[in-house]
Amino acid sequence: MITLGCDIGSLFSKVAVMDGDDIVASGTAATTGNIESEIKDLIDGVLKDAGIDRGNIECTVATGNGADLVKDAGFVEDEVTCVAAAAYFYIDKVDMAIHIGGQSITAMSMDEDGEVTNLMHNDKCASGSGRFLEAMSRKLNIEITDIDPLAAQSDKDVLISNQCAVFAESEVITHVNNGEKLPDIFAGICASVANMVVAQGRRFSSAEDYTLTGGVTRIGSVVDVINSKLSGNYHAFPHDPGLAAAIGAALLGATE
């Protein structure tokens, strides 16, 4: 059975196609204006690359903020449901997933069937989301993909302590003006994001095995800080963590 999961976020649209239990195609596109045609183009492109005929898709499941914009979706699932499903499916004994989205961090605990038993979003007034990382890299003219290698060169603790993203940005500018080096600043930015995630994870103190999802977790410097501070065993999500919700949606398409 071929299913398609479609995660429409505020910054990116993500698509994953599954044939049974195998991921056969996937793709990501920035969402800007004309979303409906963007989604269509993204899906068409992904299917074309994988050589799958659109007619073979048996079920399309949409998730994310803009899920209602996916016109031919069979049904819509909550993002947490999808993330939990994906995490559960690929990781043997996971009982918590923390999803770092564009604007919020969501921790969710799961039972032995992969059903969400509790969830919690991060506090507002938080500089710890993907959006913050993106804004900072834009500000400092660094590609998101370059953050990790850059932060890895850091040899000094530069603290970003403002919890308001607006003021945190001023703080970053102050650091720049004080002559702090970019690697140190980015390491500081990564740590501030990571600390938000840690606080969130610690709210599920009984969790023993956790995974991290969302595009931000591609950045090793963020993940390293999280793992050094969060108790419990970390299990890396075995596919692109940015696609977790889309994969989960595709998985659920075949289950329902």
């Binding site: 505020s10 969402t31 800007t32 914009l69 604007q103 959006r131 500018i173 003006n177 004080n178």
Partner: protein, 262 residues
């Protein structure tokens, strides 16, 4: 004798050179990652344009976020806060001005002057929901228009979209959400400018506005924000004859002239 002001902010850097007769030349650019480089570049461009060298500058004052580093690197003899510089620049520009609303890239401030152009009071954004140039910049990016376009385009809106978030971070998502759902860019631009003006007014309320009011900083060029502000404050703003974006650097140069003469 030549005096100079260098204003390195969070988004743009400006340089102004003047003599006793007034402004000789000015220059403006987007900042580089390093404030010292920005200062060097913006003043370098100006000097090159005028066929001058750094040594021709008798006294220079730096201001803005990078003011200290610029001084440390020897490009200025003194650094003065952007609040004083904006105040003095605006006052010299028009002696009637008593209140200045300055919207910079990262900070918004309201400056009050006494009859002698001295700083009488000021407030800066410490609270949520500040309206800054950065806010507009991000919104423009979301809309896919330039900072120059967002003002004029919104004037034709009949039905500005109401932004329902106070926090500027969340407004961005809101704008994307509306875009995804097919709201017109014109109405969104109008909504954004209105939200911006509301934020500025909230700051202005914290000082008792004294006539007359001048708006400086890059956002002053946004006709829609300006009009909305005039409406909300019930006052017509003074026009600055020089580019409102360079008032800070102009003030710095004027203060350099004063300090350098001491």
């Amino acid at each position: 004798m030549l005096f100079a002001g260098i204003d390195v902010g969070s988004l743009t850097a400006e340089a102004v050179v003047l003599n006793s007769g007034g402004i000789i030349s000015y220059e403006s650019m987007n900042v580089l990652p390093n404030p010292v480089d920005s200062a060097h570049e913006v003043m370098g461009r100006l000097l090159k344009k005028q066929g001058l060298g750094w040594d021709d500058l008798h006294y220079t004052v730096s201001t803005g976020y990078g003011r200290e580093k610029v001084q440390e690197e020897g490009m200025a003899q003194q650094n003065i806060s952007e609040i004083s510089c904006h105040g003095f620049g605006a006052y010299t520009e028009n002696l009637e001005v008593r209140t200045i609303v300055d919207i910079g890239g990262q900070d918004a401030k309201v400056i009050k002057l006494n009859g002698n152009g001295e700083l009488a009071d000021f407030v800066m954004n410490d609270k949520c929901a500040a309206g800054t140039g950065h806010f507009l910049e991000i919104m423009c990016k979301a809309l896919g228009v330039t900072l120059d376009e967002i003002g004029p385009m919104s004037l034709s809106s009949r039905k500005p979209v109401r932004m329902s978030n106070r926090c500027s971070i969340y407004v961005e998502t809101e704008v994307i959400h509306y875009l995804q759902r097919g709201e017109s860019k014109v109405d969104l631009a109008a909504g954004i400018n209105k939200a911006m003006a509301e934020r500025v007014v909230a700051l202005v309320r914290r000082v008792k506005v004294e006539e007359r009011v001048m708006m400086t900083g890059g956002v002053a060029k946004n006709i829609a924000v300006r009009k909305e502000l005039e409406r909300m404050l019930g006052t017509r703003m003074l026009d600055s004859k020089i580019d409102p974006q360079i008032i800070g650097a102009y003030g710095a140069a004027l203060l350099a002239q004063r300090e350098g003469a001491r």
